[in-house]
Subunit: 275 residues, 2 copies
Amino acid sequence: MRIAFQGEAGAYSEMAAVALFGDGAEPVPCSSFEAVFEVVEAGDCERGVVPIENSLAGSVYRNYDLLLRHNLYLVAEYNLRISHNLIAAPGVLLEDVRRVYSHPQALAQCERSLADLSNVEIIPSYDTAGAVKIIRDVGFRDAAAIASRRAAELYEMHVLQADFEDIAGNYTRFVVLNQEQIESHGESKTSLAFAGINKPGLLFRSLGVFAQRDIDLTKIESRPQKGKPWEYIFYLDFAGNLAEERCARAIDHLREIATLLRVFGSYPRAAEEWS
Amino acid sequence: MRIAFQGEAGAYSEMAAVALFGDGAEPVPCSSFEAVFEVVEAGDCERGVVPIENSLAGSVYRNYDLLLRHNLYLVAEYNLRISHNLIAAPGVLLEDVRRVYSHPQALAQCERSLADLSNVEIIPSYDTAGAVKIIRDVGFRDAAAIASRRAAELYEMHVLQADFEDIAGNYTRFVVLNQEQIESHGESKTSLAFAGINKPGLLFRSLGVFAQRDIDLTKIESRPQKGKPWEYIFYLDFAGNLAEERCARAIDHLREIATLLRVFGSYPRAAEEWS
């Protein structure tokens, strides 16, 4: 099965793809999130894996926008713990390192660890896994990169220091894109987006359709719409499956209140929570 | 008045500070968001300006975390339109440009415009304004940076192309930090955070305290708490002022429901919406 993801081989998105689909699947690198949606829609890849939310950085609005613009469904989710490693060529020692390459977000998450290394220059690069690849390709013996353990393994490089991030508990929630809905059983979650005119009580009435049916919400987020200052989009996840009658009825009820409603589908709830 | 902001001179945060406080104020660059909170708390700066939400990238969770950890109040907000410019030394022409420097997020927002330039290398850097400074300091005549118009003016550089971003309508909402609350009049907004155990209906009951008093919500966002998988933090803004009795009563009512409540203060509502 071909699984599209954004980034280079060794990217965190690829780790999520492998965790979800096993080593038998073939992860397919794409240059942008848009490309991931497009290859799944075109049928060139069977599934796509994109990040939707990070425990430090917040929701990935870009992928919510793409969900609204494309005609795909969510069929799974996965919470990946983002753990950064300081990576160099085999034989290179910590005291040899004079330059550290990585994506600025990763560099920022390792600020204190980097400050502990003396006499080191910090060099931002496009991509965490890409930084490892550069060091390998050029053959640097005085440089390191910050990236995933998978990137180290893939490029046959050495982890100088694991858990290099300053704050533990950095999780990214990934979702799996598919052309069609897939029936799921057991504990489920359902994701949807709806829009409405922001008058007092809109959100209260909208949430009422779930509260009245004892349906537990696991995410709610409001977002002003560009060009429509008084109209909001809400992103909502709830615990439950569209196959359950109370959930189907809640959706029907919500349709009476919202001006727009897109249901992205039901899928098995990830075992690991952000914790 | 000294206004702390994160970044180099010419950063978008500095533009927000100047738009809010005029040219008479003294913007004070800080190396991190944390440093902004610290200098305001210590009284070294009278105010701090930090981004809290972007129309493409979402909420800046890092600054919400810092709001919860520090004892400061919100006293103003400002919506800044983020408009990117391609900037080079005076006399340098578009066809001379062989390298473009900027922060990866700005580079990503200008992807299509960059693709239109032929034979150009893209080089990520830490900071948009910092990229302009480097080109000026080194005296590059074959490089350009993507940054604000203010950065171009400050470093006496030339705007080769304005509105360089692919998608217009990129807004960042900034808030102003202060040691104390400031009484505000006219149309106001109030920001708060609260936490509670995620059982069905918690959010519905919480929002009920506002709906019952016809108070209009302008933002709601839920966020799982690290280490407490069943406890959520909610960030909420409403249209209204703590000086109004119905608002004060809504807050009292919310205190009965929430396990934690922090009110960050009331402030004048920004004239310009994301639109």
